[in-house]
């Protein structure tokens, strides 16, 4: 049972997933589940395989073994664009905005699949709401996205994903390169979206901050899940605190 008293429905189930780049195996039999309406945090050290896991789920990397179920159907064999059309959206590391289009047009492109069914008016209202939330990109809405600063591009990439209203949003280190005050805004936004029913799988280096807003968490180390459970439990786990939270707490608490 989830917190709202609704029966728990798994939206994404990853079972015994294995992946490799060439000769180097990165994931060794990973199992994770994300239920409808949950915000799940995935933490772990660098090179543990967090990004590879997301890339494998979204079809950018083909797995060596295991199963991936989304909405109850296997998606392992599907092409990335097909998986996206099912409502599973992945925001990879590294600010992949469309550099030669304006910030605003980037957002319209994010809403591309909603435009036909919901109409331009709805989308425009949503975009204005996002601009209100992130005033620093609102100021640059007419500038080419490629001319935005690194951090602004990062915010734009997140906003572009939010505007798409996916069934499951997978974010890879949204805090990367953001100023402290903006990180707060981004995390607040994720809490807000979760409350409105969006399901989110969040990969973060800021383990404390991510677990603080998550329902559940997984700790990935060296390509396997080493710990999992409700995020409050993980936050208080001595092992997790020592290995992943470190001094971060003092700066970002």
């Amino acid at each position: 049972m989830s917190r709202d008293g609704q029966p728990v429905k798994p939206l994404l189930e990853v079972r015994n997933l294995t992946a490799a780049y060439g000769s180097a195996t990165v994931l060794y039999g990973v199992d994770i589940t994300v239920n409808e309406g949950e915000l799940v945090a995935l933490v772990g050290s660098n090179g543990a395989g967090k990004s590879t896991l997301l890339r494998t789920i979204s079809g950018l990397v083909s797995p060596a073994g295991g199963e991936i179920m989304f909405l109850g159907r296997p998606i392992r064999q599907l092409a990335p664009e097909h998986i996206t059309r099912l409502g599973l959206l992945h925001v990879p590391e590294g600010r992949h905005v469309f550099p030669d289009q304006s910030a605003e047009d980037n957002l319209y492109l994010g809403a591309y699949r909603r435009l036909r069914s919901e109409g331009r008016k709805r989308i425009r209202a949503d975009i204005e709401a996002l601009f209100e939330r992130f005033p620093q990109i609102a100021e640059r809405r007419k500038n080419l996205a490629g001319l935005l600063s690194g951090g602004e591009q990062q915010i734009l990439a997140i906003a572009r994903a939010l505007i798409a209203r996916p069934r499951l949003l997978m974010l890879d280190e949204p805090s990367l390169g953001l100023a402290p005050a903006i990180i707060d805004v981004v995390f607040d936004t994720l809490v807000h979206e979760r409350r409105n029913g969006m399901t989110i799988l969040l990969v973060e280096q800021l383990a404390y901050a991510a677990l603080s807003i998550a329902d559940r968490g997984y700790v990935l180390s060296r390509g396997t899940v080493s710990l999992s459970g409700p995020s409050q439990l993980l936050l208080n786990d001595a092992q997790v605190r020592r290995a992943y939270l470190g001094e971060e707490r003092h700066a970002f608490g």
Binding site: Y21, G22, S23, A24, T25, V26, S45, N46, G47, S51, E93, G94, R95, Q136, R140, N143, L147, L148, S149, G150, G151, E152, Q154, I155, E173, L176, G177, L178, A179, P180, A181, I182, D184, Q205, A207, R222, A243, Y244, L245, G246, E247, E248, H250, A251, F252, G253
Partner: protein
């Protein structure tokens, strides 16, 4: 003596995969194979087979020359047919009209082709990719038109018949000796390009081809490097043209058409671009295929097109990739298993750091009153920053406040609209970025700019190019001085890899690193360029808390060694721990400057950057 021992010891400590990339070429084997091939060539008496052998060997030479330029250096200049024709015509005409002896005529062909190559490097200074390819096509058309229409010299569309055979010391070389000579030059070219690739020059070339901005940031003079590789590639193609003219005794404008150029490029693509054996496969394949299909001449191009499509869609790496994977399957799973344990945990050690980082003399960098705008958007207004040796200067501010722009302006990647930058009293604004890097200001990039196809070790070696390039001749022939520079560079590279915790990954391709490891490689690579002022753009982004702590220790050690550091960062714990002074930017202006404590307590900074609550917690 001592340092040489050290270097060979460290070479032995390298993982097998990394050592393979750096092992010296077996010269005895090359010599034996070359001699055998020459004797085999000499023994061919059948005229048709000799013709095919000559043509194949000449195409091998051109394909390898093109592999240097289009492959390793990544320059999309595809007019090799024109260069080849210049070498052929000049060499032939020098003998026929000027009466020069063969060797002088042949050299003249190479020299003129080299001049053509240098001229063609000029557009490459501004253009890349498809644009450069278009310009090269235009170059090719110009040469082709001259060959066709300057009839009184070139013989026009008919070309030059009855070109004298090559002679040495007055003795005419018959077909068999000529073939042996061509094979000799072909073997020399294959050997030379392999030796060059393994030298510091090769790593610099690939680095430039993979990421020109990063290459410049490490002090690699890309203008000079482009001139060198265009020149070298063209001289080799021109000399091949000369061999063609004097062995076939006939040239026509057909050898220099754009289609001839495409054919050379095709050899590279089909065989495997950037590989050491691909050009050989491609040259053999494309020379011999038309002969095999000579009974079906009408379908020759059709068959070629189908083969090209099949190879490029199934194996983008060309025939070399197909052969490689067949070999791997043949060898079985043994090799694969051996390389599995590569992702070793990060063991950070500063043991080698002292030897790997040069002690910097005293220096001071002052940038003041910098203005910069991009098409109406003002990025900097009167911003400034200063740092001297033994000091870490933090640069913080909201996203879009101009931090990276300031770094770009200081390091010559952007030009300031107003203001001045002095390094040890000397004005450095307006200087190109690679000059600034060689002067001692080396920066890292916010989004890692890797030389993706190079290993971690080779990334670090490429960064030392501007200090450790052997003479080009030494690199081409794998002379001891070339190997010595590589060994010394490895020594330093390993120390730096250890200091950032990448020692276990030195043999990994940079493209296959995790984001955090890429950030670490950025830092180590900047240090490998031996900066006096190290400018890091968000080095801790994507690092775990533990890794960020290790970064702090590294920065403190670098400061103790006398480096000046500018640190752009959002990780406030890193900033507060290591910085001596902090500059705060907001909307392109400096809104605060002072010690970490002063800056943290500044109400303006709290409002614009930290957010009130966070500043309170940080102060507690």
């Amino acid at each position: 003596m001592h340092s040489a021992d050290l270097a060979s010891a460290s070479l032995a400590a390298l993982p097998v995969a990394a050592r393979q990339d750096l092992r010296p070429i077996n010269k005895a084997l090359v010599l034996a194979a070359g001699a055998l091939l020459m004797v085999a060539g000499w023994s061919i008496s059948d005229g048709y087979i000799s013709y095919l052998a000559r043509l194949t060997a000449i195409n091998v030479i051109v394909a390898y020359s093109l592999n240097l330029l289009v492959g390793y250096a990544g320059q999309a200049f595809i007019a090799a047919g024109a260069t080849f024709a210049i070498g052929a015509y000049v060499s032939a005409l020098s003998m026929m009209k000027l009466g020069l002896p063969f060797l002088a005529a042949w050299a003249a062909g190479g020299i003129l082709a080299g001049i053509f190559g240098l001229l063609s490097s000029l557009p490459a200074l501004r253009l890349a990719g498809a644009y450069l390819a278009m310009v090269s096509i235009a170059f090719n058309v110009v040469v082709e038109q001259i060959l066709i229409h300057w009839t009184e010299v070139t013989g026009g569309p008919i070309g030059l018949p009855a070109i004298p055979r090559a002679e040495l010391g007055g003795i005419e070389l018959d077909e068999r000796v000529m073939l042996a000579l061509i094979i000799f030059i072909a073997v020399l070219t294959v050997y030379g390009s392999a030796a060059l690739r393994q030298s510091q020059w090769g790593r610099a070339l690939v680095a430039m081809g993979e990421n020109e901005l990063a290459a410049k940031s490490l002090g690699i003079d890309t203008i000079r490097l482009k001139a060198v590789v265009f020149w070298l590639s063209s001289v080799i193609a021109g000399l091949a043209g000369g061999l063609y003219a004097h062995s076939m005794q006939y040239v026509s404008p057909d050898v220099g058409t754009i289609f001839a150029s495409f054919n050379f490029v095709l050899m590279l693509v089909l065989g495997g671009i950037k590989t050491s054996w691909g050009p050989l496969f491609g040259a053999f394949f494309l020379t011999l295929l038309p002969q095999l299909l000579s009974d079906f001449q009408r379908y020759h191009l059709l068959v070629l097109g189908i083969i090209l499509l099949a190879v490029v869609t199934t194996a983008p790496g060309g025939l070399a990739q197909i052969i490689d994977s067949l070999m791997a399957r043949f060898r079985g799973a043994i090799g694969r298993k051996a390389s599995l344990g590569q992702s070793a945990p990060a063991n950070i050690s500063f043991a080698g750091l002292d030897e790997s980082v040069a002690v910097a003399g005293h220096c001071e960098l002052v940038a003041s009153a910098i203005d910069k705008s991009f098409g109406g958007v003002t990025a900097l207004r009167g911003a400034g920053i200063a740092v001297r040796s033994g000091m870490i200067r933090g640069l913080i501010g909201p996203n879009g406040s101009g931090k990276s722009t300031l770094v770009n302006v200081i390091t010559g990647f952007d030009r300031a609209d107003a203001g001045e930058i002095r390094f040890d009293e000397r004005r450095i604004d307006g200087r190109p970025s690679s000059w600034v890097a060689r002067a001692g200001l080396v920066r890292s990039f916010q989004t890692p700019r890797m030389f993706s196809e190079l290993t971690v070790l080779e990334n670090l070696l490429a960064a030392q190019f501007h200090r450790s390039a052997p003479p080009l001749v030494a690199a081409l022939f794998d002379l001891p001085s070339s190997r010595r520079t590589t060994r010394q560079a490895i020594e330093q590279a390993l120390g730096l890899a250890r200091a950032v915790g990448l020692e276990g990954l030195v043999a990994r391709r940079a493209a296959d690193l995790s984001q955090g490891d890429k950030k670490k490689l950025e830092i180590a690579r900047a240090l490998a360029a031996e900066p006096a002022v190290l400018i890091l753009d968000e080095p801790a982004a994507g690092l775990s808390a533990e890794e960020a702590t290790a970064l702090c220790s590294l920065l403190e050690r670098l400061r103790a060694k006398g480096l000046a550091v500018i640190l752009v960062e959002h990780h406030m714990d890193v900033i507060m721990r290591v910085c001596d002074r902090i500059t705060v930017l907001d909307r392109g202006r400096v809104i605060a400057e002072g010690t970490p404590r002063e800056v943290r307590d500044d109400p303006e900074v709290r409002r614009a950057y930290l957010g009130i609550e966070r500043a309170n917690i940080g102060a507690a």
